[in-house]
């Protein structure tokens, strides 16, 4: 996606902290700053969403819950598109679930990217996780 530059002035301490966090995440302060601005704009537009740092990067979650948006979306699909049924399965307020679906619809590329990681071949787990075994049931 094409990007456009903007100029920002921040407190010197914030700049140092941004540089520290960027180093820890293995990215540049400019990229991380742009991510934070993007997330700030998105969470203002979609207040039912929050972002979390994960081993596959920043991921959108349903606010206040350990529920990634992509898994909320998959649950609805598993229920044949019936959001009410999915909300009952997850013990989630229906409107909160629908708000997560709106976010997924607004940013399909972002959601599909993490979803692809969630559908990585199961055999990969043998290479990633110590003491792993499969059980066919």
């Amino acid at each position: 996606m094409a990007t456009k530059p903007i100029s920002l002035r921040v407190d010197p301490q914030i700049k140092v902290q941004l540089q520290d966090i960027a180093r820890r995440f293995g990215t540049s302060p400019a990229t991380l700053g742009a991510d934070y601005v993007t997330e700030g704009v998105r969470t203002t537009m979609h207040p039912s969403i929050e972002f979390r740092q994960t081993p596959v990067g920043r991921v959108a979650y349903v606010r206040g819950l350990r529920l990634p948006v992509w898994l909320a979306q998959e649950t609805v699909e598993d229920c044949g598109g019936d959001a009410e049924k999915a909300a009952k399965l997850l013990r989630l307020p229906l409107l909160l679930l629908k708000a997560a679906l709106l976010y997924a619809k607004a940013f399909p590329q972002e959601i599909n990217a993490v979803r692809a990681a969630g559908h990585r071949p199961l055999d990969d787990l043998d290479r990633l996780v110590p003491n792993h075994s499969f059980l066919k049931v």
Binding site: R52, T54, P55, L67, L90, H119, L128, N131, S133, L135
Partner: protein, 122 residues
């Protein structure tokens, strides 16, 4: 020793009662109610620690981030309470009975000893 399981937020809460119906002796909780909901919004590195402290295995289908979290935990020299991951293509969200049977099979085969083990149900 009594087996203890924790169902993560994306796992249907009714799975707890389905597992209990098959194995009443298993202590199975959903994260939304476990310890009065204290972990409902817990960070992904916090929950495995809480499970480890309580000798409880985590039930999840999140193969996007969970492998990375467990790998980081292992890299820090820490152990974990065990993971039962199920294949989200094999077990759809509403297939609670089939998933409960799968979990019980895993508990039977391991005699409930899941500490530091990761079993993927497929």
């Amino acid at each position: 020793m009594k087996s203890k399981l924790l169902l993560d937020s994306h796992v249907p809460a009714d799975l707890a009662s389905a597992v209990r119906a098959l194995r009443p002796e298993v202590d199975v909780q959903h994260v939304s109610t476990w310890q009065e909901g204290a972990y409902i919004n817990a960070a992904d590195d916090v929950l495995p620690e809480a499970c480890w402290q309580d000798n409880r295995a985590l039930v999840s289908k999140d193969r996007a981030t969970l492998p990375g979290w467990i790998a980081l935990r292992v890299a820090d020299g820490k152990e974990h309470g065990g993971v039962l991951l199920y294949d989200l293509e094999r077990f759809r969200a509403h297939q609670i009975g089939a998933l409960a049977k799968g979990i019980v099979t895993a508990l039977d085969l391991t005699k409930g000893k899941l500490t530091n083990r990761w079993i993927t149900l497929r």
